[in-house]
Amino acid sequence: MTTTVEAGPLDVTALRREFPILQQRSHGRRLVYLDSASSSQRPRAVLDAMDHYYETTHANVHRGVYAIAEEATRQFEMARRAVGRFIKAPRPEVEVIFTKNATEALNLVAHSYGRHLLPDRKAILLTELEHHANIVPWLMLAAERGVELRYLPVGDDYRLDLRDLDRLMDGVGLVGVSTMSNVLGTITDLSPIVQAAHAAGAVVVADASQLVPHRSVDVRALGVDFLAFTGHKMLGPTGIGVLWGREELLDAMPPFLGGGEMIRDVRLDGFTPNDLPWKFEAGTPPIAEAVGLHAAIGFLESLGMNRVAAHETDLTSRAIEILMERHGDDLKIFGPTTDLPARGGVLSLAFRDLHAHDLAQVLDAEGICIRAGHHCAKPLMRRLGVTATARASFYVYNGEDDIQALSDALDVAAAFFG
């Protein structure tokens, strides 16, 4: 990668100017956006790239011989390569599949690998901290195939408890695991899980929806077999997600959705699938969205993923400090508060006896956007013994002023509900 990257901490003030929405005011106040774990905002460069594509190039990809169609195809395939390089895929041009979101990527694996290549009677191992996107497809598969679902537990330190790993891995054919929890912030070191899985002959499906936006990811180093993530959480547009998979697995898998582009030939009585990656891209793909995602990756690379990670670790550390100091007794943080590099910038909170939605509502009036709810992780909520948490999450455009604003607003909420 030859992108020139500045050194030192991110200049948040300068960065914010790149994000039009952060120039907006909410309820007459500066918009303090603390919900990037749900969906991030987009820099002007991403919007410009998509507009420019539509204004100069758009045509359907892959089959047109005329100039703009060739250029559209080129830009789409360049986006695929950029995505692949971003996660250090050995063969970006065949291993990166564009889906509509991370959820479709995981369903693709569940349908195509799970229904056809997962050996009979093999169990599926998930973890208690998965997002619904990495649970429901497997629940559906397990019900259909009559196989067992197991869960790696979450310990009281809010990290996966691997003490029973070997026993749980026995007879397992597929492991679904999140690289970073969207509720706890926990970043899991996958190596023991991957090793145990591969020793058991199981494949590992990693949900990296929260990790890829925030850390430098290397699929070879992770050792996983599939990796799913989503464009809208990494400064890219809605409507696009990514599945990366090892070529030999993808090659062996039958198609999932059927239609144009994923075929070599169609006869009245059968069809022949296309080569990778198109075999898994039925119909017109998210072309402009791929162009936008490419621009988002360019933006992140120009910041440098290591600086992004350092910025978020700093901010998380300051946030824990400030919040505990000012609201210590009133506040509970669901998530690791030590070993901060091994956790992301996601803080799930309980404040006094306030309901998370009431808290978020009062914070909104102060111009602060946090998410309240189960965060699509109901099994984890049950494990934590709550129905909902209030969650603040950080990205490149957040600074210490946002933490201060959050902390001030907690006082307002306390006063409001008395």
């Binding site: 309901h355 939605h357 509502q361």
Partner: protein, 171 residues
């Protein structure tokens, strides 16, 4: 833009802090209905007893946000001891008040919800007493479900009793 005071009226905070008719009733003779809000995972439980067409007793259990709790509390105060028909009319009226937003969401020529239209027999918000304080909720669409949660459960409970569903069938 709607302000917080539109949502959290003083009377609402009061019911939230001191909820009325909180508790459970023995089932049977009481009937038990759950209301589940999938948006947040909260659940209210309504216990009701109907005798000779009158809602003789009613209790609220479960948990949820201040809006859902105070709406349930206000509801209990409004319907307890009333004839079932009056309770039904109140439910209709309350839900009509809460559905205003549905229309503005649908745009100029929204397809009207037939339920609202055909029900001429509803009370105006200004005739709903302290329940009118919940009117501000419609400006916060995500919270509408909070306010209607216990009302939907009550409606379901009355329907089930009318249809002769035995409480035991449901547990």
């Amino acid at each position: 833009m709607a302000g917080l005071e539109d949502l959290y009226r003083e009377i609402i905070l009061d019911h939230y802090r001191s909820p009325r008719n909180r508790g459970e009733l023995a089932v049977p003779p009481a009937h038990r209905v759950e209301g589940f809000n999938p948006l947040c995972g909260d659940e209210v439980v309504v216990y009701l007893e109907v005798n000779d067409g009158v809602l003789t007793d009613l209790r609220i259990a479960g948990q949820g946000c201040s809006i859902s709790q105070s709406s349930a509390s206000m509801m209990s105060a409004a319907v307890k001891g009333r004839p079932v028909e009056q309770a039904r009319k109140l439910i209709r009226s309350f839900k009509a008040m809460m559905s205003i937003h549905e229309h503005s969401l649908g745009g100029e020529d929204s397809t009207e919800d037939p339920e609202d239209q055909s029900e001429a027999d509803t009370l105006k918000p200004e005739d709903l007493g302290e329940l009118a304080a919940l009117q501000g909720v419609v400006k916060f669409p995500v919270r509408i479900k909070c306010a209607t949660l216990s009302w939907n459960a009550l409606a379901q409970g009355l329907d089930e009793i009318a249809a002769g569903v035995l409480p035991l069938d449901r547990t």
